[in-house]
């Protein structure tokens, strides 16, 4: 038994997740998942896509899109590169699990600690986010996944349900600033 036990803390620095309801939107910090990036090694495109499909349970999505199965979800991040997400409980070392399967076909990099995630739900999600982000929020369909900027912070925006539910991933070090921006925008339109 080790002498020192390490307990993780959330991106906002607390042990409980922060959950805020403002007007018609709810903004919830989500710390439940592990993240890793996978990128195809040159020349392995074919083998990679079939292995990835078998492992993840879906074909890897195209530019600007996301896909999911019971265990995994993934979104496109760059040409030949995706972010894969799974529950932290079952996939704490997600990079290792993916690397085992994809081996020489892909470069896998742990990303869990690099990001914070906020899930935003409610009838006014679109009006809230159009105060923050230059992407076409009103035109975003379920499954859309795009990288862009919110108040100078580089983020991924994933549309879970059209006009209703969006997840924002931002750099973990900027979690406070990102959360502040989200709350301020929610108050603006409340």
């Amino acid at each position: 038994m080790a002498e020192y036990q390490l307990e993780p803390i959330n991106a906002l620095g607390l042990s409980e997740t922060v959950d805020a309801e403002i007007g018609l939107v709810r903004i919830v910090e989500n710390n439940a998942n592990s993240l890793a990036s996978i990128a195809i090694r040159l020349g392995n495109e074919k083998k990679f896509s079939s292995s990835a499909r078998k492992l993840l349970g879906f074909a890897l999505p195209g530019p600007g899109e996301s896909a999911s199965s019971k265990t995994y979800s993934a979104f496109w991040s760059a040409p030949n590169q995706w972010f894969v997400e799974a529950s932290e409980k079952s996939h704490a070392d997600i990079a290792h699990i993916l690397k085992e399967e994809l081996a020489e076909m892909a470069s896998v990099t742990e990303q869990t600690g690099g990001w914070c995630r906020f899930d935003i739900e409610g009838k006014t999600v679109t009006s809230m986010l159009e105060r923050l982000c230059m992407l076409d929020m009103a035109g975003m369909k379920a499954g859309a996944a795009n990288r862009s900027v919110i108040e100078h912070i580089g983020v991924f925006l994933l549309c879970r349900r059209e006009h209703e539910a969006i997840s924002v991933y931002g750099p973990r070090s900027m979690a406070d600033s990102l959360h502040h921006a989200l709350i301020a925008a929610a108050k603006s339109i409340a």
Partner: protein, 983 residues
């Protein structure tokens, strides 16, 4: 004079009366009034003082083009100067004050300027105050500054918040007059995403100001019904109180929405305004037209306004500017005011038509071929003098005069991409030409001045745009309305003795323009700057064309030959706060926090901004009163035993792929091809020009896997550079890059007891002994009972040191564990200051040294630049000019007199030389106090420095008048042999 100028009808809500004040006096108006309409209804015509001469002025217009009626709103720190009373929506409790007057609006001391017009003629800045020269700075400029300008700011921070926002649409319709409503309807019905932007607080444009009917309904009722239909469409967004202020590249528009300016009390925290960036695939500009005045002597008295503005006041706001009104026109549209006034029972004093062939009007004193040649009335119009066609003059009593010189299409937004409008003789106006890509113009903005033509062109233009976008326009029947021609006969100004004002806001007269021409100004752009015609808050919306016409006449050229000045954004004034948006004070930019931030806060750390990062600078302990005490203690304790520092902020780039080694070897100038797995190497990265770009350590975790570190500041630029190399230079390499800066919480554990401390953290199965894990080793390990971690044996401090990384969410727990485990070693957390001291003591370079002008040779690292391989920057670093014997070399400096200090940025001079740029020998880059040596030390670049060890030079700092004799020494002040870090 009656104080009640309120009429019947109109669009004001008589059931909600609104109390407001102007210059301290209380008045009552109605909901739906503007400040200007409510003041006029109360018989107040005098609303402001002019810019130069402080002449009494009242509103000229009923809209955003207003040059005169500028007031200050919202007192104290919310004070907003230069607000157009003609656009201010009335609300209960509104307090407005007049401006540019002292002590009061009615008695203004600086009105004395009006008696000295020759002092303030065109170009007066450049003439009147030129001599004696010495007077300019001390006397004239302060005087002018006090006298000039309009309103004043509070000088305090604005307490309101402003938002920015982004909207996307298929079709943006700018303006909601008849053309705009027809366009928006076509778009909405076709199913396109439409944004309809209207500057006013109700839609309808001139339909609200005119008495025309549309499809047998009053025009404003028709507009209201269209508003209701559009509001019910999910694909249409109506933005009222929203001015489109600029047309930018590729269908991007700026728009300012005023959210709370019309509310008596705004909810705290709610944005006052939103500055929208609108992305439009197509834009239909339906901005309407602005009426222009005719200039004549003394044409600036309160009560003299545009003829169409009087119709707005009468029809929409149920207000007349006076009980007896005269009209002066050169076109048929001006005559409509007569009909509308009569319909409301207002007496018509006379109609003066410059044309001899205009339509005749019954039961009214009507002069044809006549002109107004003078006016009277100190604080408001009382009388006009008319010169009739036969040359006789007569005086006419009246309290208001409506003037119409024709209509100028609002082409402003069509010019924001350098479009140049063209002159149309029949309309005597400029029409859009060379409009921005994706924009089309309809209605009055395109010279289609009748209501029927506005409907037709609005619908047709939108239909074309929709078809382009692949929508099927439904067509439908056009609404029926008037289709009368304007019949204008151009007439610009009346010659006469008195001053005839062209630009009311800047007090520019016909004479000023002629004078400018006499003095040799030919280009309109020069004219504008010399006379200030068309400048300031209204940007000459009512003045420019008349000014041009006068200029054209003076030069003997036609108006198209004379040309127009260019219009630039913003179309109407925007508060600076709106441009700033949320980015002010603490929200100026995002803050990045390290994984140990919360813990460091608990320790009372003092933080410093390093780029966006907040890093612990030092950790004061009780009793320490000066930062140096804390820093010296941290340095000494680390060198004596062990210290801990959060180094997460260093950039980390994950490099993988079959060709990862080739890639790393090509981006660093030193050799990397043979770096074994589980080893770390210092890497020097050059720019292609041979200058040092960045440095750091790179660890080889596997055959095909590297982790590169960058300096904190260069994490982004280096990543961008690596992607450039990968995608643009060597696309055939199998390399994948991704940033992992934030994914790992990384701590430096430094000092002779660092190994002992880590033995308690790193799980037992990993051998930390010097033999098993020597200097520059790296390994993937587990800590605290199984948590995966990365361990690097690298040292920035020069001590035996490690860096240990865990997944970020465990960083807080790890620093606490390290501190607990380190208790027996008196472990010390150290901040960036101590980090800096130790690296200077060790002679390690950082951003201070890698300043973009430094080569490997300057650093004494020229032997690292491999000539046996292709890497970025190696070829150009061979250039002769970068390799001469006199080149700067990195050296250490210490004061000859150990008690003396010196500053970074000081330049080196030889002992006997005069301190001058010609004698410059180099400069100091980093300075600190070394608690280990007990005196100041520095790093710097000195010409041929490597061969000058032992020489004494002067470190000269002329800014602080500081000069210190310093001895040139090796840059490695501590442990030059590197025994500690290898121990």
């Amino acid at each position: 004079m009656s104080t009640d100028n309120r009429l019947e009808g109109g669009l004001v809500d008589r059931s909600s009366s609104v109390r407001f004040s102007f210059d301290g006096a209380s008045y009552t108006g109605f909901k739906g009034d503007t400040l200007a309409s409510a003041l006029l209804a109360n018989g107040v015509r005098l609303m402001g003082r002019s810019f130069k001469y402080h002449r009494p002025r009242g509103p000229l217009t009923a809209g955003p083009e207003e040059p005169n009626a500028l007031v200050e709103l919202r007192g104290k720190n919310r004070r907003e100067p230069n607000t157009r009373a003609t656009t201010v929506e009335l609300f209960d409790g509104l307090e407005a004050d007049s401006q540019n007057r002292w002590p009061s609006l009615k008695f203004d001391a600086l009105a004395i300027n009006d008696l000295m017009p020759s002092l303030f003629a065109a170009g007066f800045y450049y003439k009147t105050f030129m001599w004696p020269k010495a007077f300019w700075e001390k006397l004239y400029e302060p005087l002018i500054r006090r006298a000039a300008g309009l309103g004043s700011l509070s000088g305090e921070p604005d307490p309101d918040v402003y938002d920015k926002g982004f909207l996307h649409c298929d079709m943006l319709v700018i303006g909601s007059g008849p053309a705009g409503l027809a366009a928006a309807l076509a778009g909405g019905r076709a199913g396109a995403r439409v944004i309809l932007a209207e500057e006013d607080f109700i839609v309808g444009g001139r339909l609200n100001a005119e008495s025309f009917s549309v499809d047998d309904k009053p025009g404003h009722e028709w507009a209201r019904s269209v508003f209701d239909e559009l509001s019910s469409m999910a694909n249409v967004r109506i933005l009222t109180r929203t001015a489109v202020i600029g047309a930018f590249d590729h269908g991007v528009y700026g728009a300012l929405e005023r959210l709370t300016d019309h509310l008596a009390t705004a909810e705290p925290g709610k944005p006052r305004q939103v500055l929208w960036r609108i992305y439009a695939k197509r834009t239909v500009l339906c901005a309407g037209a602005t009426e222009r005045p005719i200039a004549f002597p003394n044409n600036d008295r309160p009560g003299i306004m545009l003829s169409g503005a009087i119709r707005s006041y009468v029809n929409r706001f149920a207000t007349t500017p006076g009980k007896k009104v005269a009209i002066f026109t050169n076109n048929d549209d001006g005559l409509r005011t007569v009909t509308d006034l009569k319909a409301k029972g207002v007496e018509i004093a006379a109609v003066i038509d410059t044309r001899t062939d205009g339509p005749s009007i019954d039961n009214v004193t009507h002069f044809q071929g006549a002109r107004v040649v003078d006016t009277k009335g100190r604080y408001g119009l009382q009388e006009i003098t008319v010169e009739q066609a036969n040359g006789k003059t007569c005086r006419i009593d009246c309290l208001a005069l409506g003037v119409s010189g024709g209509w100028n299409p609002n082409v402003h937004l069509t010019c924001h991409q350098r479009g140049r409008p063209v002159w149309d003789e029949s309309l005597a106006a400029f029409l859009p030409h060379g409009v921005p890509e994706g924009m089309q113009v309809a209605g009055a903005a395109n010279g289609e001045l009748s209501t029927a033509a506005a409907f037709a062109t609005g619908a047709r233009t939108a239909g074309e745009a929709l078809e382009d976008l692949g929508f099927k326009a439904t067509g439908g029947k056009l609404p029926q309305s008037e289709d009368d021609p304007v019949n204008i006969s151009p007439f610009w100004y009346v010659e006469g003795k008195g001053r005839a004002w062209v630009d009311l806001q800047n007090d520019v007269t016909v004479k000023d323009i002629k004078l400018a021409h006499q003095e040799g100004y030919r280009s309109v752009e020069h004219l504008k700057r010399y006379t200030t015609l068309g400048m300031a808050t209204d940007q000459g919306k009512t003045a420019n064309i008349t000014g041009l016409a006068v200029m054209a006449e003076a030069t003997g050229k036609s108006i198209p030959e004379t040309g127009t000045t260019i219009f630039r954004p913003p179309y109407s004034p925007v508060a600076i706060g709106a441009f700033a948006g949320r980015h002010r004070d603490m929200s100026f930019r995002p803050v990045r926090k390290t994984p140990s931030h919360k813990w460091a806060e608990e320790q009372g750390a003092v933080f410093v901004e390093a780029g966006q990062w907040l890093r612990a600078q030092w950790y004061p302990q009780s009793g320490e009163t000066h930062w140096r005490e804390s820093v010296d203690r941290e340095v000494l304790a680390t060198r004596k035993s062990v210290g801990i520092c959060d180094v997460t902020t260093l950039g980390k780039i994950d490099i993988q792929g079959a060709d990862a080694t080739r890639f790393v070897n090509a981006v660093y100038c030193n050799a990397f091809a043979k770096l074994p797995v589980n080893k770390v190497r210092y890497g020097l990265m050059l720019r292609e020009d041979g200058m040092v770009m960045d440095d750091g350590t790179t660890a080889r975790l596997a055959e095909d896997h590297y982790v590169m570190t960058t300096t904190t500041a260069n994490a982004g630029p280096v990543f961008r550079h690596l992607e450039f190399c990968r995608q643009c230079l060597w696309p055939e390499l199998d390399v994948q890059l991704i940033s992992t800066t934030e994914a790992w919480a990384q701590f430096a554990v430094a000092g002779p007891n660092s190994r002992g401390l880590l033995r308690k953290i790193v799980d037992r199965d990993f051998d930390l002994s010097n033999d098993a894990f020597p200097f520059m080793g790296c390994a993937e390990v587990t800590v605290c009972g199984g948590l995966r971690a990365r361990l690097f044996r690298i040292s920035f401090s020069g001590e035996l040191a490690y860096e240990i990384a865990v997944p970020t969410r465990y960083g807080d727990a790890l620093v606490r564990a390290l501190m607990k485990a380190g208790e027996e070693f008196d472990v010390t957390p150290y901040g960036t200051e101590a980090l800096g001291v130790m690296r200077i003591e060790k002679g390690h370079v950082t951003g201070n040294e890698l300043n973009g002008t430094i080569t490997a040779l300057n650093l004494g690292m020229e032997r690292m630049v491999s000539s046996k391989k292709d890497s970025i920057g190696t070829v150009l670093s061979r250039r002769e000019g970068m390799n001469h014997g006199d080149a700067l070399k990195l050296v250490g400096l210490r004061p000859v007199d150990a008690s003396q200090a010196f500053a970074a940025g000081s330049h080196f001079m030889k002992r006997g030389d005069e301190a001058s740029a010609a004698n410059d020998q180099g400069y100091m880059t980093s300075v600190c106090f070394s608690p280990n040596l007990g005196h100041a030390i520095g790093l710097g670049f000195l010409k041929d420095g490597a061969n000058r060890i032992g020489e004494v030079v002067r470190a000269v700092n002329p800014l602080q008048k500081q000069e210190t004799e310093v001895e040139v020494v090796s840059p490695h002040f501590i442990d030059p042999e590197g025994e500690r870090l290898r121990g």
